[in-house]
Symmetry: C2
Subunit: 318 residues, 2 copies
């Protein structure tokens, strides 16, 4: 974060041909973006969307409305351009990359054992770290992984506390019996790993999944390159929460793209102190809500960097 | 509205590679758009943004934080590409047109006389009607007119009832004394024209402005061409409200682009039964909030018309 660029952007914002504050959150968003890009008049020309996919041993407990083979089928759909995130990436000019993480080797069922070994979680974090293009100027991380709302609920509960039921929702659409099973599964995972998961990165290892760890790695890498990040929904936010819990301020380069329909997402965002840009009832994952928010960020930056000042336009400033 | 296209779009939506409902409001938006464009798989390639500008006799009452000459100065800014709406139109691929309506002849001060004669309001409605490009596939109407939140508040109060204070806000930023003056001005206008304004189009004539009438004309013309419309903020919504009050269903081809920070906008939208797509604290006018919502609509249509079906992608549908 560049405080000089931030001050320059704030000064510029005050001179643009509009009443003070009339662009609302677009003004804050443009100034925040300028501060991370190190210039008072930034552009956004190279958005990157990265989708990480992983499989989850906990699916054996019957926590999802979809069978686990859908993960690899959807990866093929991403690669062939057929998913929602393909359309949204194209609509907002983003490069899209897909990383499937050992889909043939699901994580361990976290009600029986830690989801990942130390080696596995480190490998997933590294995959995420290395997936970030240092020349990108904004990053969206998305995911695909049947069973991963269960994993995300467990990670959020570990990081923020509370009961399993506070964090567990319907995901892709389980019925009441499924929700009850899922909540019980989360509670059993929290109990089994109670000691280890006091450390948020151990929570990611014991309860998370490869795609969650990869998103965390990518978000951390973006920070090291001063690339602003837009959070997607519940699973992405749970992965980010592990960074937030591990180090205060770790998400200063991050905005919340949208509020998901997955019930506990609001609770995660509130704990992260992030106000979502959009609230349109999405609950798809894949980075879809964040990619949609690229449009808002694009508009904010276009106004900030493209508008005339009062002096340039010869407009009286009230 | 084409019910066959709507049914086709609903059927298509149910086959796309996502859990049912997982794209939230994007799904409804795409189906609504398809129904107006008459095809189950629509595209959005020709957005039109039209800015109408007018001056207001009621400015003599000290209702704005800005002097009236800012209207013509901002029209020059639109024409030279320096305003927020220029950047947003460009960012979302919209053609932008500007119509300045008799800026040298402000409307009459509505606390003294009807703002417009019959001839004047008809001319403004026609300007709006004729400004719509029949080949556009979505329309944003925006406005510029120092004093026009006062006019819009009066029109909204006339159309929906209630007290002047329920509809009057700070506009571009008047202080407490200005707000009190403005509320009194609205109340006096409502009292003076109490009989005539029982008819919503007479409310537009007696209390509105040329740019409000032009927006109403453009929104009506769009309906006749099956062009969906995105409403902007308080002033645009007040203009649209006169159509809604004049004829039930007159705004079926319209969505609310955003919720403005102008306090009474929420009240107008609630009376219109429209749920805004965005809520980012904008209060600029110029069509800015609606233009930003073009991004949401673009994303919705891209997903609906571009995604693969379960069958096409070979994905199990749960």
């Amino acid at each position: 974060k560049n405080t000089e660029a931030q001050a320059g952007a704030e000064a510029r914002n005050g001179q643009l041909t509009k009443p003070p504050g009339a662009l609302g959150r677009l003004e804050d968003l443009a100034i925040w973006y300028a501060s991370w890009r190190g210039t008072d008049r930034p552009e956004m020309k190279a958005p990157q969307v990265i989708i990480f996919a992983g499989n989850h041993g906990v699916c054996a407990q019957g926590v999802s409305a979809f069978p686990p083979e859908v993960t690899v089928q959807m990866v093929a759909n991403f690669e062939h351009g057929g998913a929602a995130i393909n359309q949204l990436s194209k609509a907002f000019g983003a490069k899209m990359d897909v990383h499937a993480l050992d889909l043939d080797t699901p994580t361990a069922d976290f009600t029986q054992a830690p989801a990942m070994t130390e080696e596995e979680v480190v490998a997933a974090l590294q995959t995420g770290w290395n997936a970030v293009d240092p020349n990108a100027d904004v990053l969206v991380t998305g995911e695909m992984g049947i069973g991963n709302t269960t994993s995300a609920a467990a990670v959020a509960a570990a990081v923020f506390g509370g009961e399993a039921g506070d964090w567990t929702g319907r995901g892709t659409g389980v019925d009441d019996a499924g929700l009850s099973r899922k909540t019980d599964v989360v509670a059993r995972g929290l109990a089994l790993h109670a000691d280890a998961i006091k450390d948020p990165l151990q929570a990611l290892r014991c309860l998370g999944g490869r795609e969650l760890a990869a998103m965390a790695g990518a978000i951390a890498a973006a920070r090291s390159c001063s690339i602003p990040v837009i959070l997607d929904g519940f699973i992405c936010s749970a992965a980010a929460a592990s960074l937030h819990a591990a180090q205060d301020g770790a998400l200063d380069h991050v905005v919340a793209g949208h509020l998901s329909a997955e019930g506990a997402h609001a609770n995660i965002l509130s704990n992260l102190g992030k106000d979502p840009l959009l609230s349109l009832g999405l609950r798809l994952g894949e980075g879809s809500g964040a990619a949609l928010a690229l449009g808002v960020l694009k508009g904010a930056i276009a106004c900030h960097s493209g508008m005339a000042t009062f002096a340039e336009a010869g407009v009286a400033d009230g």
